[in-house]
């Protein structure tokens, strides 16, 4: 086959001009310098990375360079980067982008990230990689800037959408790509219709939970790699839980996906110190909790009101404000509340009003004063968040709030405030996915999320590359409440904190038990009573223990 050879004729037209006009002619010294520069910037081999020579503000870690090399040399520039949280996927993506830019294979690049991360991405690309990335704010940016960072939600809307499609992007990077697991969404459709010459999909959650998610994500990157939708689901059960069920499929997926684990990186991680802090209710708090707990014995009026008893119990463990807020909403939602219902609610509100102090908040204050350094407090409830802000202020401790719902600019600003001016950040969500707070090394889990994945994300905000100190995590659990039971069952028995979720998931899926996350959602979301929850939890625990013994056996067999 003949090879296409293009000769760039732009130089010679001007050459004729200069001859006709007898100049102007260049300077011999500069002419010679040009050739020296040329010899410095010529890249004589297809293989190898150039990027490390171009970075002075960053020393990439070995596993990050390996990823970049792998993607460029063996995956043809199309890959899913699925490293565990905190291993530096952004750096890996930056290395690949830079390498392509140095070699002149990429000129225009589009980077789609959650709105909260837009400016952070732009700053990192500029400061660490000297890539002139621009955060999309005005519509002219699409046309005038070569490297643009934007959120999918902005890019997919007019007038941006048409402008985006007019550009000829060489590389598209999508952060938090696991959000594109459903192929029926507008976002999926949008990304699918983008032309992807080179493409990187970044995701932190292992996409091994459901086989359909894998299919959708891979098909976005490389359509046909896993066959057509029909043929794929004929071959693999749609609801099959795990990739590991099928070696062939796993191998196929690994051709387009790289996943590094903490233990693979050979990096010495700072330690995690996890401490469970038992909390004792005051008499008034106990009264409220008991009153709530006894409710399900008093007839079935609650089932009509569509709330879960457990929610209220959990809120009672957090703050009286959280309980009050929910109670008031319950009352509002009922169009014609029965007298008994109204009475019950009012009785509970009465109990709420009796409470004078919050035992957890007292403890938190004590710990914060003792630490005398930056602390992040996580709570599940907004009402608790507001209360804590007020409460800390009473004790002259500066704090800033943080919520998933904050706009991008506000998130950046809050992070900034926390880093430079405030001692405490009170967050309602790990929702700041990708927000990095590694300058802080203390977390108080004021109440625990029912989903341990969320917990890992919380810790991942601070226990990541760049964290210089050991990380301290304080888990609050109120004695003799549902909270303590959960903590015992879940977090202590499984030693969840010392482990990384992925590891456990691996074992479970190998044994075809399904994902731990699904189990937990079932246990805590679907159980009607604490009793049922405990039985299911015991069941899961024994499964895990069995899985671990299998793992140990394997290890013994291997040695």
């Amino acid at each position: 086959m003949t090879l296409q050879i293009n000769f760039d004729a732009t130089w010679q037209d001007e050459f004729q001009n200069r001859i006709d006009n007898d100049g102007p002619w260049g300077n011999w010294d500069l002419f010679k310098l040009t050739i020296e520069v040329e010899n410095q910037t010529v890249i004589p081999a297809f293989d190898g990375l150039q990027v490390d020579k171009h970075l002075s503000n960053l020393t990439p870690l070995p596993h990050q360079l390996e990823v970049a090399e792998q993607v460029v040399e063996n995956m043809n520039g199309k890959a899913i980067l699925a490293d565990e949280v905190g291993l530096g996927k952004t750096i890996e993506a930056g290395l690949i982008l830079k390498e392509y830019m140095i070699r002149g294979l990429v000129k225009k690049a589009l980077i789609l990230v959650p709105a909260s991360l837009v400016s952070q991405w732009a700053i990192e690309l500029n400061s660490k990689f000297f890539i002139p990335a621009v955060a999309q704010k005005k519509s002219y940016v699409w046309e005038q800037c070569d490297v643009v960072v934007s959120s999918i939600d902005t890019a997919k809307r007019e007038p941006h959408r048409s402008l985006v499609f007019e550009q000829n992007y060489d590389l598209i990077i999508i952060d938090e790509a696991h959000k594109l697991k459903n192929n029926k969404t507008k976002n999926y459709e949008f990304v699918q219709s983008l032309k992807k010459k080179f493409c990187l999909l970044l995701t932190a959650t292992p996409i091994q939970n459901r086989i359909s998610e894998i299919f959708n994500l891979v098909s976005l990157l490389k359509p046909g790699h896993l066959g057509t939708e029909t043929s794929f689901y004929e071959k693999y059960k749609k609801n099959a839980r795990s990739l590991d069920d099928d070696e062939g499929l796993k191998e196929l997926v690994n051709k387009v996906m790289i996943r590094n684990r903490r233990q693979d990186t050979g990096i010495e991680w700072t330690k995690r110190h996890v401490e469970t802090v038992p909390i004792h209710f005051s008499k008034e708090e106990r009264a409220l909790y008991d009153a709530i707990s006894s409710m399900h014995r008093e007839g079935n009026w609650m089932t009509d009101s569509q709330f879960s008893l457990m929610t209220l119990q959990r809120e009672a463990c957090s703050s009286r404000e959280a309980v009050f807020y929910t109670l008031r909403n319950m009352l509002k939602k009922q169009e014609q509340p029965s007298v008994a219902f109204q009475q019950k609610i009012e009785e509970l509100i009465g109990l709420v009003e009796n409470i004078q102090q919050n035992a957890k908040a007292q403890k938190a204050l004590e710990i914060i004063q003792q630490i005398n350094d930056k602390v992040i407090i996580f709570t599940e409830y907004r009402a608790t968040q507001l209360f804590l802000q007020w409460f800390l202020k009473q004790h002259n401790i500066t704090s800033v709030p943080f919520r998933g719902g904050f706009k991008r600019g506000k998130k950046d600003w809050m992070r900034e405030l926390f880093q430079n001016h405030a001692q405490v950040l009170i967050a309602t969500e790990a929702g700041g996915e990708g927000i990095n707070l590694q300058f802080c090394s203390y977390i108080i889990n004021f109440d625990l999320p029912w989903n341990p994945m969320r917990l890992e994300q919380r810790i991942g905000r601070i226990h990541r590359l760049g964290q210089k100190n050991d990380v301290h995590i304080y888990n609050f659990a109120t004695k003799d409440t549902v909270e303590e039971h959960v903590l015992k069952l879940l977090y202590e028995k499984i030693h969840l904190f010392e482990k990384v979720i992925g590891e456990l998931d691996d074992i479970l899926t190998k044994l075809q038990f399904g994902s731990i996350n699904d189990h937990l959602i079932d246990i805590f979301g679907q159980s009607a009573s604490e009793g049922e929850m405990r039985i299911k939890m015991d069941n899961l625990t024994s499964m895990i223990e069995f899985a671990e013994s299998v793992k140990e056996e394997n290890q013994h067999a291997a040695t």
């Binding site: 050739i35 520069v37 294979l105 032309k195």
Partner: protein, 265 residues
Amino acid sequence: MQQHEIHHFLLRYFHANHCEILENKPGYLVIQLTVELDKELMNRPFYWHYLEKTGGVANPMELTLITNPSLAPDDIKGEIIHFGSPRLHQIFQSTKNLAGYIRLYENYEAPPGTQTALRPWLGLNLRISYQCDRKKDLFKSIGLHLINGQMVEQFHDKLLHLSLTPKIPDFSFTLSPFIKPQSGVMRVANFLQSEIEKEDHTWADEARLRWQKDLQLLERFYEDADEKGESFENEMTALQEQYEPQVHISIVNGGLFYLTDEAIS
């Protein structure tokens, strides 16, 4: 490029552009830019436009470049220059822009009373890029004798041994070319083309194989669909752009060189 090489390079660049070097100390440089170089590097067109309109006194900037922060004094404020810094690449680009075209004469000291004939050469420095989803480059320097059509490789290296001057030296005269410079460029292009065609193209075959493979996957993906639609076309184009092997030849710089018979052997 090592830091001291960068330092040396910058010095020569600013020298060649007639800038005054205010300070040249280990680890840093302070340069007084000329008006031309200020316009070239500092990107402030409004200032220069304003000056032209008002007829004010031009005040080109001073530039401090730090080539080694550990050697430079702590209180020096300036731009840190390293191999990846945008400023250095801007200067690289500027070097190229400022010296794209040249005409030089060999400065040959002929015995008194004799006249020296200088023969016209076309000198071209080129970059050949081999590109598919990966890329590599090759630098070539080729000289073409514009009278007898002789072609010489590594022409630039040979020029480095000669004394060259922009003005025709006394007691020298130039011979007119038989080959027009324009067609000379085409000769070089054709020569390179035929050379490249003779090379081993395994890399291109492999790229085509990767392309074919992905194309098959793509077609399989859409085989159930009655109407393949826009996204299919899109993906097809993307694959072509990703994999299609191509060679690009571009001229870095070049020009006319009038040399003695003995100069190029």
